[in-house]
């Protein structure tokens, strides 16, 4: 008899736990919140928090408060998958994340199985939306578009013939480097193609080998800690050539690591400066007063969260599949401008431009 009572008590406790879940709408925010890319994760968190606070200030969505579940994937794919499972179990209506393509791609399988939509603010690898998962979206561009803009710039504008290509072996880094190489076509020679290890600190070996091939430009597919060290160490071994990288490098820490003089004149492919977009003005002001200077992906995280919440509102329920359909059919007026997703979940308009570092700041490159 005692056992039966105990059993009923436990059952009661569990049912209590289930009921509590329905009081709020949960959305997941996933990215590298700690570790060497923590800056990007915090930008995600701050951008998304701002959006959620605004919605909660207006009474939440579907009459319920919005709760964020912040998940730190430490840019580790294994961690990303286990956190994805955890968020699915927590009953999130959708996920804003992840940052690294190597995390987003495996995690997208988990969300797809559960029918939960994910909107990544920063994963640019083409594979992510090529898998045919219906609930996968991104508000940023794709590496094939980005690599092409970089390659066109090198061929048509800088008019360089010999290029060295390096990457960090990650899905993002190698993907970007390969797309860049592909779009160079036969217009420029790739005199060196090699990789480095993410987390390594000594790149003088590979740079010395690069130097022996006399390239006019080094293209690096990777993230800012390695990019900063590469630029710094290239100058130290007397390799004074142009350096170009992608959106993973566009972070103030890059300049801090490389040093202002070594970072000067580095070309980066990235989306246009939000400071020049009229609709982003309100966001930038609010973000500044709350968290300080915006990071490169703060606005993407803000838009991703807003789009997700707008779709929940429109769908009238927290059911993942209903939200997914709304995400496909609606047009959203976001801080970045009007956003609409195509069949694959990519944004229909994704402009990439070239940026350059000037006196310790990133500025959009304007052809003179």
């Amino acid at each position: 008899m005692k056992k039966v009572i105990l059993f009923l008590l436990i059952l009661f406790l569990f049912s209590f736990g289930c009921q509590k879940k329905e009081d709020v709408i949960r959305i997941g925010i996933a990215g590298p919140m700690t570790g060497d890319q923590a800056k990007m994760g915090m930008d995600f968190k701050n951008g998304a928090s701002l959006a959620v606070e605004e919605w909660n200030g207006k009474g939440g969505v579907l009459g319920k408060k919005i709760e964020m579940i912040i998940s730190d994937d430490q840019h580790d794919p294994k961690q990303a998958v286990s956190l994805a499972n955890k968020m699915v179990n927590d009953g999130v209506a959708g996920v804003v994340g992840h940052f690294n393509s190597s995390c987003s791609i495996p995690a997208s399988d988990v969300y797809n199985r559960a029918g939960i939509p994910m909107i990544t603010p920063g994963s640019t690898n083409p594979q992510l939306t090529e898998k045919g998962h219906r609930g996968v979206f991104r508000v940023c561009g794709r590496d094939d578009q980005q690599g092409r803009v970089g390659a066109d710039f090198v061929i048509n504008y800088l008019k360089l013939k010999n290029v060295a290509v390096l990457h960090d072996k990650t899905t993002y880094g190698q993907g970007l480097a390969d797309e860049f190489r592909k779009f160079l076509r036969s217009e420029a020679n790739v005199v060196f193609y090699g990789s480095i290890v993410q987390g390594d600190k000594d790149f003088k070996t590979v740079l010395t080998a690069v130097k022996a091939r006399n390239p006019q430009l080094i293209f690096f597919g990777g993230i800012y800690p390695e990019a900063g060290l590469l630029v710094k160490q290239a100058k130290e071994i007397g390799l004074n050539v142009n350096f170009m990288s992608g959106d993973g490098t566009i972070d103030p820490k890059f300049i801090e690591i490389a040093g202002v003089s070594a970072a000067e004149g580095t070309y980066l492919t990235f989306s246009p400066d939000p400071g020049n977009i009229p609709s982003a003005k309100g966001f930038i002001e609010k973000y500044r007063s709350k968290y300080g200077e915006t990071g490169p992906y703060s606005i993407y995280a803000y838009d991703a969260a807003n789009i997700l919440l707008a779709a929940i509102k429109e769908a009238g329920s927290a059911d993942g599949r209903a939200i997914t359909e709304k995400l496909h059919s609606m047009e959203f007026s976001a801080a970045l401008g009007n956003i609409r997703f195509d069949e694959k979940g990519d944004v229909t308009v994704s402009p990439y431009v070239v940026w350059v570092t000037k006196n310790g700041k990133f500025v959009e490159y304007r052809k003179p």
Partner: protein, 300 residues
Amino acid sequence: MFLQQVINGLTIGSVYALIALGYSMVYGILELINFAHGEIYMLGAYLGIIFLAFFTAIGLTAYNLPLALFLTLILSVVFCASYGFTIEKVAYKPLRNAPRLSPLISAIGVSIFLQNYVMLTQGATDKVFPHLFGASGFQFVSVRMTYLQLVIILTSVVLMVALRLFVRNTKMGKAMRAVAQDKTMASLVGVNVDTVISVTFIIGSGLAAVAGLMVAMYYGLVNYFIGYIAGIKAFTAAVLGGIGSIRGAVFGGILLGLVESLGGSYISSEYKDAYAFIILIIVLLVKPGGLFGRAELEKV
């Protein structure tokens, strides 16, 4: 290109050698692999950043850069040496007569503790060491060397020669060699074994602190995790040269640095970390005691 890669290899190799000395000295005396040693190196790098920031704040760096750097070095060494001393007293001394595995596990525990301690107090993000020298250096025929590389190599050589003289010619050095041979016998003839062990930890930690500070200046980037890889590489260097042998640690460290940079440039840089371990396996197959060590089968 060959000479340039040799310079790159020598620079990083002499840092490996400095750390490897700490592993080798402790092993020589206690037959303990001090897995927390890499963390002391990481602490040295962090303390360097902290003290230099302090001297910059009080204006000494702008007034006299060499003096500020020298004081930073001294303070980092003193702090790391006291960490080394304390770790031995707290984590290893109580286990001195315990089975061989217990102090080893304790060492791993200390390593995890120190990593998390630094992560929690200093944050998980990368810390940037101020750019003091830029890329200034000199050109010698086809080789370019920065002044910092020169300083790293010279400092390491001076410290290694000093250590050798210390162990060969001083009374304490003689006592250390005696304890390494036989602890019981050494104590019977009046050697204070506890003091000798403490001195060993202090010297080893001091050398690791110097290595940490120099690496922080060289790469300019420090995080709480750098001690892990550096520790593994230095441990490999110590085993390569014959663990317990000072000459072996120096030689092993420099060999490791050269193999990494030459292998990385002539074969493929993608497998840079693998070459060190390939060499290690070959050496251990041919000469199980390491290049300068004696083969003793019972050692861990």
